[in-house]
Point group: C2
Chain length 281, copies 2
C-alpha cells in the first residue's frame, strides 16, 4: 500500500487507528476456546466488527508463535483475511545480518503478504536494508519504545562526533540519545514512502523533538490504552497534514469484552478511538 | 541443559562447535529438493553426520519462516530431532515489551524445547527479563555482532554518567561503547549459568576487552567461515578453563557439498573444526 493510499484511507474513515491482534489463546472467550482454529475465529470476528473504525491491523507474531504450527497457520489465515483496504503490519521486530534479514523479508513480504514489518535497529544498516529493498513495502524501525526498558539503551546519550575516540575520556562533545541516532540513520536508509518509526505514546516528553527530527515520516504509535499513553497528547504533538500517525490499540480493543458479544464490545471501543481521532484530524 | 552438562559435553567431545542450521530451501541438493519435507530431511542428514563433532545446533528461524507453515513445521521437527546430548539454540533475535517477550519465551522454551534463545537488547531490561525467568534455560543476548552494521550503533560511544544531561553539551565524561553497556547490563540481569553473549568472530580487536568485562560467561561466536572470522584468534583470546565458547559455523558446514554426499562433506568440515578446537582446549 502506498503512502497516498494509506492517507486516502485515513481521511475517508477519519481514523488513524491500528487494531493490534495480540491474540492470546489463553484469553479467548469461553465459547470460542474449544473450537478448532479458535485464534483465527476470534481474529475474524474482531476484524469484521472493527474494520469500519480502523485503517490498519497489526499482528504481533509472538502470540502466534507461542501456539506453534497452529499459531503460525492462524497468523497466515489472519493476514489473508485482513481486507486489502487495510494496512497490514507484522509486528515481529526482526533484525539480523543481511542474508538472514533477506529471509525474514521473504517470510513477511512474499510468503505472507504484509504491507509492513517492524524491525529492530541494534545490528545497524545491513540488518535493515534488505527490508527497504522491497520498495512497495514498509519498514517500521524501532525508535523510542513505550516500555520502561527504553531507559536502558534508547535513552542513553551517545557522542555525536562518532568513531574518533580511542581513550577513555573525551573533551566536551555534543550528544544525542541513541534513539535519535537510530532515527537519523533511518532517514538516510529509507524514505517517507517506505519507512516509518515506532514511537511509544508513553514518551510524551520526547514527541516534539522526534517530530522535528523526522518531520515527514509516519509514526506507528503503541502504548495507548493498556500501557497508559494519551491519544490526545500524541495526536496534538505529532499529527501531520496528511495524518502521519498510526495509533495502535491492542488489549484495550480486542479484550474489551469477555462474553459471546466480545466483537461488539471491541467495535465499541474502536469506534470510540475513531470518534476521538476525527476531532484531531 | 546446565552449564556443567554443556562443559562436560565440550570436554568429552573435545569440541565447542555449534552447527548452524540456516537451511535455505532454495539451496538444497537437487535429489532432496522435490521430496516432501525436504528441509527436515536435509537437517536430519546433517545432524546424523555431524553430531559427533559438535556440541550444539543453532536453528536460524528466518530460514524456516521464509517457507511459511511448512517451514515452521520443519523447525519444530528439527528441534525435536536434535539429540538431548546437544545444546539446542533458536537464533531468533527476539525482543519486545514484557507481555510479548513472555509469549516468545513460551514459543521457544515451552511449545518448542530449545535450551537457548538469542535476544536483541534494544528495548532494555523488561524485554530481556521474561526469558531469564526460565532458570533452566539460556538467554543469549546480542553483544557485538559480526556484521559491518555493528559500527552504526553497537560501536558508538555512550556516556558513562547516564541520564543526568539535559543540555546539548557536557563536560568531559567517561565513555564506553554501546555494546559494552549492553554486556554490563546483561551481567546485572542474568548469571553465567543462564546468560551468554553473542560476540562476532570478526570483532577480533575487541575480544580481549569483552572477555575482561565478562570473564565467566559463555560467548556464542558467529562469523567463522563464510563471514571470515578466525577460529584460532577467537579461541586464543576468549577460551576459558571450562570452555566458555560456542563457535558457530553455518554455511561453511551445511553447504560444504552440493551432491548426494552433502552430509559426508558437511561432516568432514565439522570434523576439521573440531580437530582444530581440540588443539586449543
Amino acid at each position: 500500500m502506498t503512502r497516498a493510499q494509506l492517507v486516502a484511507n485515513i481521511f475517508a474513515k477519519r481514523s488513524y487507528l491500528c487494531v493490534g491482534l495480540d491474540t492470546d489463546s489463553t484469553k479467548l472467550p469461553d465459547h470460542l476456546r474449544e473450537q478448532p482454529n479458535a485464534i483465527f475465529q476470534f481474529n475474524k470476528a474482531i476484524i469484521d466488527a472493527t474494520k469500519d473504525h480502523c485503517v490498519a491491523y497489526k499482528i504481533n507474531t509472538a502470540f502466534y508463535e507461542a501456539a506453534g504450527v497452529k499459531g503460525w497457520e492462524a497468523m497466515e489465515q489472519t493476514a489473508d483475511y485482513i481486507p486489502a483496504t487495510h494496512f497490514k503490519i507484522a509486528d515481529a521486530k526482526r533484525g539480523d545480518i543481511g542474508n538472514t534479514a533477506s529471509q525474514y523479508a521473504k517470510a513477511f513480504f512474499e510468503t505472507m503478504q504484509f504491507d509492513a514489518l517492524t524491525v529492530a535497529p541494534y545490528m545497524g544498516a545491513d540488518s535493515v536494508r534488505p527490508f527497504l529493498e522491497y520498495t512497495d513495502k514498509w519498514t517500521i524501525l524501532l525508535g523510542l519504545t513505550s516500555n520502561k526498558g527504553a531507559e536502558d539503551f534508547e535513552l542513553q546519550k551517545i557522542s555525536r562526533s562518532a568513531g574518533g575516540h580511542t581513550g577513555a575520556t573525551v573533551a566536551a562533545v555534543e550528544e544525542e540519545f541513541l534513539y535519535e541516532r537510530v532515527i537519523k540513520k533511518g532517514l538516510d536508509w529509507g524514505t517517507d514512502k517506505n519507512l516509518m518509526f515506532v514511537i511509544g505514546a508513553t514518551q510524551q516528553d520526547a514527541i516534539f523533538r522526534i517530530r522535528s527530527i523526522a518531520p515527514n515520516h509516519f509514526f506507528l504509535v503503541p502504548g495507548v490504552g493498556a500501557q497508559g499513553g494519551s491519544l490526545k497528547e500524541i495526536s496534538q504533538s505529532a499529527l501531520l497534514p496528511d495524518g502521519g500517525l498510526l495509533v495502535n490499540a491492542s488489549r484495550s480493543v480486542i479484550y474489551a469484552g469477555e462474553g459471546e458479544d466480545f466483537a461488539v464490545e471491541a467495535a465499541a471501543i474502536a469506534h470510540q478511538y475513531a470518534y476521538e481521532m476525527d476531532l484531531y484530524l
